[in-house]
Amino acid sequence: MKTTLTTTALSTLLALGLASAASAEIRIGATLSATGPAAFLGDPEAKTLEMLVEEANAAGGLNGEEIALVLYDDGGDPNKARTFATRLVEDDEVVAIIGGSTTGTTMSIASVAEDAEIPFISLAGAIEIIDPVRPFTFKTPHTDRMACEKIFEDMQKRQITTIGMISGTDGFGASMQAQCKDVVGDYGITIAADETYNPTDADMTAQLTKIKNTAGVQAVLNPGFGQGPSIVTRNYKQLAIELPLYQSHGVASDGFIELAGADAANGVRLPGTALLVPGLLAADDAQKPVVDAYKTAFEGKYSTPVSTFGGYANDAWLILSNAITTAGEADPAAIRDAIEATTGLAGTTGIYNMSAENHLGLDLSAFRMLEIKDGGWTLVE
């Protein structure tokens, strides 16, 4: 009796799963963290992909074939991400996967994609994703290390040699802190004070006071995202610290200025992407058409401002759709080769030049050093 019941239940579930499989279009899979703690990454990414696939289908699909997007929400849980990646590969039989909003989910998906030899474009930051190079794994966001390098480059120009750091202990902050400490020596800069805070802390005056009282500090760098950096910025103003403050690309959004307050955010510098400052781009800037198109389409459809993270998904789609068109067929191996051969492709994040050794394809020029002035963004030359 028990067995019959379980078998019936099982076969019903199997039938449900079956209903979604098999048809002749190009099937593209995505597993993103549209809910959960990483929703601020996954939500704009999911919306962007849905919008772009809809647009592409309205324009006749790719190579004359319709595109079917199979999108799952892994809630930021790497274990779930692996299950969904397996489902995409084995059950939905997709030809490519976009996703992995966080480094944890990305690493879980990568091993599935590599085993199945399906091209996979990640939307997460860590350098470990593409270094060492995995044959089928690519990514669109610049790495934390590049953000550090861009910031240190700017500090060098201002003759800053001693800095204090205050980092969040979340995945983003901790990873960037480690990368910055790794490359800081190359720029002749020393870190005199190194403080951390919990992402949920409501006040960082204690850590900032310690940095303020450290002799020789000429500037402060704050790797982190979410509300932490805006609290740091407000406390920084309250303590009347006059040194230059650098934030990371993790808070490159108008929301940051709002949270920190235009007054406190005045003079803060951070590395951002072209997407943040479409109005400041030169008319002949290669990224301008892409940035304008994405911004207009996204804001028109969802009535919310674009974010850097949605931009990562936009670029992943550009790279993938371009590769499918170049390859002329929706065969995973051919798509992989075409992705690796991507050159001079302008995205919202930067210009992509992939190669067998470089599965990211961005250089430091992808970042623009921005300064907040009177509640708006300005480009630093």
Binding site: K2, T6, L13, L14, R87, D91, G104, M107, S111, A174
Partner: protein, 318 residues
Amino acid sequence: MKLSSKHVTLLVLLALVAISPMLFPSGYYYRVGALIFVNAFAVTGIVILTGYAGQISLGHAGFAGIGAYACALAPVHLGLHPALAAVLGALISAVLAWLVGRPILRLKGYYLGVATLGFGILVSMVLNNERQLTGGPDGMEVPDLGLRGVLKDWGLDLSNGQFWYFFSGICLLIGAWLALNLYHSPTGRALRALHGSEIAARVVGVDVAREKLKAFVISAVYASVSGSLLALQNKFITPDVAGFMHSIEMVTMAVLGGVGSVLGAVFGTAVLTLLPQVLTAFGEYEQLILGLVMMLVMIFLPAGLLPSILRKLRGAEA
């Protein structure tokens, strides 16, 4: 010869593990099956602690985290084989459970729940913050178990999904067999006695604190091994495995299926592992439906899914 309930349970489980693959239309179902078995392994430990002994733990994911990170760290730093690393993880979990449980289990009531809650959060914090060792929130890679390669040399070529399906299935069978044997042993009887009434159990000579501690340590080992299995299967691990939500998930799975029986726990685990996969079709309503299903079960089938269904069936036959 009439089969005992222990043998019926084991036979049903064996049949499930062996027959289900015949219905699998693709390799993805092996992955879901393997996840059910790994989760059910941990939940079997909860059955011993909560179902047999009546104690509640809200921090068992902490032990799963220790088991998982033992498999990630010991091969790299100590040069241990991943299988031995899992054993080491189980040992560490057992010792920690003994240390945590010894003072706490002398007390009655909710103290164990609160103490384990704290323990689970502590483990999760250590895994998140000790970046040099654990890779922090980004997680770290776990070496391959290597058994699949050995089987291949012996002429048994299984896909990764198939291997983990059968391997976790066999582990679950062994775990269930041990748990069922425990149920019918003197310790099992003592646990059930103290579950009924601690005072009565003490009167008939049961060392209540010691028996509770035994159950706690055993269930911690179950959670630890389940964490190791998960880490080895995923080949990548993040601190989420030790997170508070994972602890709650274990307890929910046990309670939903029927916390008193091993088969019920497996059933509850299967439902809660499958539901999110089936409900993806409902998009953002997934959580809503999941919550609704659980509320309905708790309101109308408070003894858990399996015991309630079995009672209904028996009633219909009579």
